[in-house]
């Protein structure tokens, strides 16, 4: 079952992580840790009220997808299959490389079994609502008595202590509170555009992986564990530093700038409509030389030769008009052709790529092997997103030790409980009968 254990050098070889996370914010961290070879044991429960929301959230694998097939059988819309929690595409992308077991923590024997697993683990991660683990008597204070070396990482919306300690949060809530939502969008009177995805479900995962590896490094050196109270909102605060300093120094409230660059004399600097439906190109002109190159590429129209646009200060002062005029030219042009023509002149330009552009077209992602095909036992082989860095000696591999995409619900019960934790077949059978696993 440890398909990849000895096939390559893993940075986290020998590390075992008990993973009680769910949704995106917690599993993002353990996804990264699994890709570096940690043995991540994802614990879930099959009661419909406890199943990870991502397991029954669209997109689903097409109904025709089989274990032997997958993406090669083609994409198609699907509403999923009632009662089947193993066909979620987003779940599959979020949980590759992990082992999957079921465990009922509402059952005393379930909690006992978890304690047994924690004794033999390096770390545990969870992102339940604040207080849930304490209710089960599985909080850090209890578990570290069983395993003093344990690293316990808990991710919540605003942190486990502080006056908002019981507040609940999804990624968008944390983003709104941190200031990130406000900062995104066109200047007032437009409302904030916010973020079309939850960066604060991603970023705590990144920091979670970072914190965990800092703690594992220390654990390897001196055997000390750690308690990590990771706050989604604080990972958002980290990105607002420049605005906060500017406010403290000038008293000036944070403003939105759309796609413009208020802090350097770069202009034009924005997204410009191109030929076709909702097609756009981002252009950042940093120098007057680049501006002259851009003017030539759009055919030197009379407006572009006006004195007021000749230097950066003039372009900045007339940015609304500049953007309007530039769009009147780009709207007739093919976005990729324009990008490559501008690039040939050394002008930073990039197509606003949508999913098909990135998955089907982007030659860079293809050449670097960014998308990784991995098998999933129910729906076959599908691409998952890879790790954005190449490590020469201990490369990340999204498939981790399992060599697989996400686990089916409880797929690894036998392997994990019997081979890793030494339960007998009879014990396992009894636990099944008692609705513990």
């Amino acid at each position: 079952m440890r398909q990849n254990e000895n096939t390559r050098p893993w940075a986290l070889a020998g590390v075992r992580i008990i993973d009680l996370t769910w949704l995106q914010v917690g599993p993002q961290a353990t996804r990264i840790l699994a890709s570096f070879g940690a043995e991540v044991i994802r614990i879930e429960w099959r009661h419909p009220a406890a199943v990870d929301f991502l397991r029954y959230m669209a997109p689903f694998a097409p109904d025709h997808a089989t274990p032997q097939g997958g993406r090669s059988q083609g994409a198609a819309r699907s509403h999923g299959i009632r009662g089947n929690f193993d066909r979620g595409g987003y779940y599959n992308n979020t949980n590759p490389g992990k082992y999957g077991v079921t465990l009922n923590l509402n059952h005393p024997k379930g909690r006992d079994l978890l304690r047994r697993m924690v004794r033999e683990a390096n770390a545990m991660c969870e992102n339940f609502s604040p207080g849930q683990m304490d209710k089960w008597k599985l909080g850090y204070d209890e578990l570290r008595r069983l395993n003093p070396r344990l690293i316990y990482m808990q991710t919540t919306g605003v942190g486990k202590f502080g006056i908002y300690k019981n507040y609940v949060s999804y990624g968008p809530t944390a983003q709104a509170m941190s200031g990130l939502t406000f900062m995104s969008g066109l200047p007032e009177p437009y409302p904030p555009a916010g973020w079309g995805y939850s960066y604060l479900d991603h970023s705590p995962g990144y920091f979670g992986a970072m914190l965990m590896m800092a703690a594992l490094h220390r654990q390897r050196q001196n055997g000390v564990g750690a308690y990590i109270d990771l706050s989604q909102t604080e990972t958002g605060l980290m990105l607002t530093g420049t605005s906060l300093l500017e406010y403290q120094l000038t008293g000036q409230s944070t403003a939105r700038y759309g796609n413009r660059m208020p802090y350097l004399d770069w202009s034009p600097h924005g997204a410009y409509r191109c030929r076709g439906e909702d097609n756009w190109i981002a252009i950042s002109v940093q120098t007057d030389e680049q501006w002259r190159g851009l003017v030539q590429e759009i055919g030197s129209p009379p407006w572009a030769l006006e004195e007021r646009f000749a230097d950066a200060a003039g372009r900045k002062a007339n940015e609304d008009e500049l953007d309007r005029q530039l769009t009147s030219c780009t709207v007739f042009l093919d976005r990729y052709e324009l990008m490559m023509r501008l690039q040939a002149r050394g002008i930073p330009a990039g197509v606003v790529q949508k999913a098909p552009d990135r998955f089907d077209h982007d030659p860079q992602l293809k050449a670097r092997g960014y998308f990784v095909d991995l098998p999933q036992t129910e729906i076959g082989t599908w691409p998952v997103e890879g790790f954005p860095a190449k490590l020469s000696a201990s490369p990340a591999d999204a498939g981790g030790l399992t060599g697989r995409a996400s686990p089916k619900l409880g797929e690894d019960n036998d392997y994990v409980y019997r081979q890793l934790f030494g339960l007998t077949a009879d014990e396992l059978s009894a636990l099944k009968q008692e609705d513990v696993i």
Binding site: P9, W10, Y140, S184, Y197, L237, A271, P348, G350, A355
Partner: protein, 419 residues
């Protein structure tokens, strides 16, 4: 919980040499927050990010941007391209654990050959590069900025404002916040480096790490890629909510004190009950608990959803934002005001958690608050920032001494203009 639990010194035996620009500033600062000793090797004119605004008091020598992303670091002015600098760099490489090179491909490639050579002398050295598209591939030499990276990486396509009724957009895709492509890449670079440190723990071997900003941004679009891969659908960007294959209902409300509020209800029954209770608390009339409404939910869920959203809007309009926030949260509703970043500076919650680090700026004669950690050990922050960004060359003498150069060598380096 013991203070030993804090991870703020977990990397304090690590020395990191940083050469580059704004692509690498954040990554190195994150590692400095865990105790790594970060030494910026800067050219005589300073790192490029010292020229990025805004500037304190309009003084071009005081980049707020540079200050933010270079806490806890040291600065040494060294002409690393000078041939005579090589013995000095060799001494540094022999003592360092990590070298971080960032910038455009041609700049980084120009430096990499030397560091590859030096890594042969110090086999435990970790050399990490952060470049716009990575060191290989057909786009590797493309020019980029943070904005164009956000475009190509797919984030802009999922961020912006609602389309019209015919699903046509009259507003552009938006790059949310600024410098965010470099944030994502910086966080991933710090992850990759800590992974390499862990790998070194096992056998002592260093390695090369090639971080691509383009790929880093690509990891952050949530359901956009799975929705296309599995269902062949393209998600639509929508105002202040997730991009989705169809347009979902608008959910921004304005409070009595004119603050936008993110307030909505998930499909879970407990949230519907909590909202009915909140409406009762503020004295709003509603039919949420009636059999008629339950029937409407069954027969026309969209109409029921619209009714609930209208109620939310009316309710939020009756209360100041902070009050709406506290009352909703007390009932388990994940609502929040859309705060400006500075609104958090005085929030007692973040003060209690030491979320902001107080950093002294002697040149200003005052302290400034910086976001300083993302996690706590229950008492102390896991990341610790105590020193403002270094002045250009502020630590040159200290670093040269650390490298082990003799007085004569130092004199010669000065004469040649290397330091």
């Amino acid at each position: 919980l013991s203070s030993q639990s804090s991870l703020s010194s977990s990397l304090n035996e690590i020395v990191l040499l940083e050469l580059g620009n704004e692509l690498g500033d954040y990554a190195a600062m994150l590692l400095a927050g865990f105790g790594a000793d970060v030494i910026k090797l800067e050219p005589r004119e300073g790192s490029p990010s010292r020229c990025v605004g805004p500037f304190a008091e309009g003084n071009a020598q005081r980049s707020i941007f540079f200050w933010r992303y270079n806490l806890n670091k040291k600065s040494a002015v060294v002409d690393t391209g000078h041939l005579s600098a090589r013995p000095l760099l060799a001494r540094m490489a022999a003592k360092a654990d990590i070298v971080l090179l960032s910038g455009e491909l041609e700049t980084v490639e120009g430096q990499l050959e030397l560091w590859r050579h030096l890594a042969e002398q110090n086999r435990s050295l970790i050399v990490c590069t952060i470049t716009p598209f990575g060191l290989s591939g057909p786009y590797r030499a493309l020019r980029s900025t943070d904005l164009t990276q956000m475009a190509m990486g797919g984030v802009m396509a999922v961020c912006g404002y609602d389309p019209d009724a015919n699903l046509k957009y009259d507003t552009p895709p938006i790059a949310p916040a600024m410098w965010h492509a470099y944030h994502i890449a910086g966080e991933y670079a710090a992850i990759a480096i800590t992974a390499a440190v862990n790998f070194r723990d096992l056998g002592g071997e260093g390695q090369f790490i090639d971080v691509s900003v383009h790929e880093a941004v690509n990891t952050c679009t949530e359901i956009a890629i799975p929705t296309y891969i599995y269902n062949g659908q393209v998600v639509l960007r929508q105002t202040a909510r997730h991009a989705f294959p169809h347009v979902t209902q608008f959910r921004l409300s304005k409070s009595r004190d004119d603050v936008y509020m993110l307030a909505s209800l998930s499909p879970f029954e407990r949230e519907a009950r909590a909202f009915a209770q909140l409406a009762d608390q503020v004295g709003m009339e509603h039919v949420l608990n009636t059999p008629e409404y339950k029937q409407l939910e069954k027969e026309d869920s969209r109409a029921a959803y619209t009714y609930r959203n209208d109620l939310i809007e009316q309710l939020v309009a009756r209360l100041p934002a902070q009050e709406a926030f506290e009352q909703a949260q007390a009932l388990g509703l994940a609502w929040s005001p859309i705060r400006r970043p500075e609104d958090n500076l005085t929030d007692p919650h973040f003060n209690a958690r030491h979320s902001f680090a107080q950093i002294h700026h002697p040149e200003l004669g005052r302290d400034l608050l910086y976001p300083g950690t993302v996690a706590s050990d229950g008492g102390q922050p896991h990341m610790n920032y105590t020193r403002r960004a270094p002045g250009l060359g502020e630590h040159t003498s200290q670093i040269i001494e650390w490298s082990g150069c003799t007085a004569n060598e130092v004199e010669e380096l000065r004469r040649l203009g290397v330091i």
